[in-house]
Symmetry: C2
Subunit: 251 residues, 2 copies
């Protein structure tokens, strides 16, 4: 049997049920800040969501990610203090009503969630020359973000909430977590069981920003390129699919 035949033989066939599960997880995923419960996370569940992250795509199969599981109250308190400093600075960047609205938002669950997780990128994991990174130096960071999204979706499917805390100086994380120079803190996540998942993104719900119409974000062959004659039907399909997603009937 050739290598290709062997690979073909054990290819994974996905069902309509699998497809439905994927879409439902994507549509039900939320950035959780205010609904964390203090309950411990099961070891088996944490192991599975890390496996999901580890199966993200990576440039040159580099797998540049590492996972720092942060549970100690001391470490979380340091990170919370770094968040507070950054958030105070951030609030000053908004004006008037917007600033007021900003200050009223809860933007992290660092001490509420039982587990924090820093996902890092080791830029030297595969030596200086990496297949696929030769002309886009940031590809290893992007691979690490794919791992973040995989983990986020797996957590949602397991009933766990994830919140990405980005209002923090990366230099502060570097100090608190002892990161060497070559390791970049890509995502600082809060992770835990939740009282409930919101039906809509919180920033949409609270009137911070609206969901944009998908069809306005799609162009053809070049930036802002209009569709050809036959593309009107496709544009209508996008409108319908977006509506179906919002009413929970995409698949």
């Amino acid at each position: 049997m050739t290598e290709t035949a062997a690979a073909r033989q054990s290819e994974m066939t996905l069902s309509d049920q699998d497809r439905r599960g994927l879409y439902r997880t994507i549509l039900g995923r939320r950035d959780v800040r205010g609904q964390f419960l203090p309950d411990a996370i099961d070891d088996g569940v944490l192991a599975r969501i890390l496996v999901a992250a580890h199966h993200a795509p990576s440039v040159g199969f580099m797998q540049p990610w590492s996972f720092i599981i942060i549970r100690s109250p001391e470490q979380r308190a340091r990170v919370k203090a770094a968040f507070d400093r950054a958030n105070t600075e951030a609030a000053l960047m908004f004006d008037g009503e917007r600033a007021e609205k900003y200050r009223a938002l809860k933007l992290e669950g660092i001490l509420d969630a039982p587990v924090n997780l820093c996902i890092t990128c080791d830029r030297d994991r595969a030596g200086p020359v990496v297949l696929g990174r030769t002309h886009m130096a940031e590809m290893d960071l992007y691979s690490t973000v794919c791992a973040v999204e995989n983990l986020w979706l797996a957590a949602r499917a397991e009933g766990l909430g994830v919140g990405w805390v980005s209002i923090i100086e990366p230099a502060a994380l570097r100090t608190i977590l002892d990161l060497p120079e070559r390791v970049v803190p890509v995502a600082y996540l809060c992770l835990g069981k939740v009282s409930h998942f919101l039906a809509q993104p919180e920033l949409e719900n609270k009137g911070w920003r609206k969901r944009l119409p998908l069809e306005e974000l799609v162009a053809f062959d070049r930036f802002n390129g209009p569709g050809a004659a036959g593309d009107e039907a496709f544009i209508e399909r996008m409108r319908q699919a977006q509506q179906a997603a919002e009413s929970g009937e995409l698949v």
Copy 2:
């Protein structure tokens, strides 16, 4: 009814079937280069996978992504030429046996796949000050990568292959696609039906690099931080979960 109660009421409850579908999609996803078929992609399927991308997390609900669907043979030929130039340069960066191996790999399906898709990030989509981007300027790029991963997973669940072409000068894409300065080409993807999905990542299969042991990528409370006494059981669970993933029995 309060806002929270309304949100709680329509929360999406995921089943074990949904969870299984998510994991199976993540484990079965591949970076496709050599298995594309020329068959057209159904409009409804393309609309759904774009909806999946549009439901990615985004910093400050910024939704900075746009999608350029590239079908014209002329545009794809220009991109292919830009890939060829970059790939010739890239091959020279590897030595000896590694260079030979590199040259033997097929690394794109630009002309084979019926649809190419450039996913871009408009860094000005929500004005200069963005909630959550104040201390990590790259968060909008990372949001766009989350959209790429959502689309990739949705495509896999629909039976479509995706390949990310990163061996290309971003400046070349900028010229070919008429991107304004504020818009960054994050991912150039090939998209289409496939003859089959490989059972393993192609670079693993061909001996380019091995899958790393997950448990070596996990630390506690700080970089390289060892686990506490109770963490041995968790480390063993990670080993088991990784083995289960490889034999298709994770969930």
